[in-house]
């Protein structure tokens, strides 16, 4: 794997730190006019998702991490593992429930998502930004309400619960932003 100097650190670069794959978020060059140059680097640990800050002497280098984001199709959940497939090669990957984490509540069979692979093993799963899911359970709305003010909880087919406007009914399909978990709109057939 390639080695990267602090001078090459930029947002998105994947490197190995303390034996974990990490992504650079921000790299600040800190240099007193008459002193040693440092790089203060904000780094996300891709295993734990924790963000840390670490200082390096300018010019120090770290090994790159073999981390790639791959578009895959979500297939099914067998109880222990979630299964994904590369749409072009049909190669399948199984992913521990723990690694899927919060993404699981947005995963519907056959939907596309992004699987991050580290040394060809799944590291994390990111749902697409907008998903369309059916409401399986919500209180009947008050007729005539079109403002959307207030809102009510609605349970979706994947298990996620989102706040929807009062006029949205059980059985309807809605569009949700997975990054914020917010209702966007109803989806008309």
């Amino acid at each position: 794997m390639a080695v990267y100097s602090t001078n090459e650190f930029k947002a998105g670069l994947k490197i190995m730190l303390d034996n974990d794959p990490c992504a650079i978020i921000e790299n600040e060059f800190v240099k007193p006019g008459k002193g040693q140059a440092f790089n203060r680097v904000k780094i996300r640990n891709l295993k734990t998702d924790r963000v840390i800050e670490r200082t390096f002497k300018s010019g120090e280098s770290l090994e790159g991490a073999d981390v790639v984001d791959v578009e895959m199709q979500y297939l099914y959940n067998d109880g222990d593992f979630r299964h994904f497939m590369m749409p072009d090669t049909f190669e399948q990957y199984q992913c521990d429930q723990k690694l899927v984490g919060d993404a699981s509540k947005w995963l519907k069979d056959q939907d596309m998502c992004t699987v991050t692979l580290w040394n060809d093993a799944p590291l994390s799963v990111t749902p697409i930004n907008f998903v369309e899911l059916a409401i399986v359970e919500t209180d009947p709305g008050v007729r005539g309400d079109t403002s959307g003010g207030g809102g009510k909880p609605a349970k979706l087919e994947t298990g996620a619960v989102v706040r929807v406007p009062l006029f949205v009914q059980q059985g309807e399909v809605i569009k949700v932003d997975t990054r914020t978990g917010e209702y966007i709109s109803r989806v008309k057939d």
Binding site: E28, F29, G35, F38, T55
Partner: protein
Amino acid sequence: MRDDWQPTTAISALRLRANVLDCLRRFFWARDVLEVETPLLGHACGTDAQLDFFSAQYCAPPIQETLFLQTSPEFAMKRLLAAGSGSIYQICKAFRNGESGRYHNPEFTMLEWYRVGFTLTDLMDEIAELIRTVSVPYRTLEAPQRLSYQDVFVQYTGLDPLVFCVEAYSACAQAKNQPEALNLCGDDHVLWLDYIFSHFIQPFLGANAVCLIYGYPACQSSLARLNLQNPLVTERVEVFIDGIELGNGYYELSDAQEQKSRFEAEIAERQLKDRPDVVMDERLLAALETGLPECAGVAIGIDRLLMVLSASKNLSEVINFPFDRA
């Protein structure tokens, strides 16, 4: 069509720069300080182990020579002082290789001035007055602050910068959740001071005010005089606003012998650190031997000053074509 031909600055930033330069020139005109120009391209350069220079090839076959882009106009200006110029200032470009970031551009604009007969205290008064004068139309700064390096160090960390104790320094970094400092600084006192100052102190200096820090440890200042009362510290001052370092000044060293031995120490340090070889400025040494008048001098980074005046977050908001568009 590519759009990186455009400046990264708003037109208002161009006006800000023009107005500030005009204001600086009036300031020095009123005080009878002479504007000068010195070469950007020279046969020698600064030896500071922390500064990297750009070199360029002079080519007039069969003559071929390596020249250096100046990291500051300091040496040439001191030669003018030794020749009897009296107080002088210069607004020019300076070049530092490998320095690029939010607060760094490898080519930047510097204001440097020398005051014959000034002590460091006189110089600090003038720095504060200059910044107050240029900032009036843009920002209302609070009263200037003046603190010794040692006091500010104790205030923020509880550590004594003049007495090195690796356990205490390391415990401080550990408590601030930066255990990597120990690995990085080892038993290098100067490196520890740079680390602690830049990480734990500097960000808090000069919140909406000019903050002048004086009395730097002797191990950190190559061109300043030692303090007569306390030879552990030097007659050096640094200027900060909003945690940003704006400049550095000295009560200038005028002893040619002392200067020569400091150059040699720096050249040895450069070799140890595997930095590119430098050429010692023999002409400066000759000028110092002839006699530099008693004087104090300071350099202020104009681009950073413009950042502070316009509350910008990045040099690219005040430099129209920063490094990646130059």
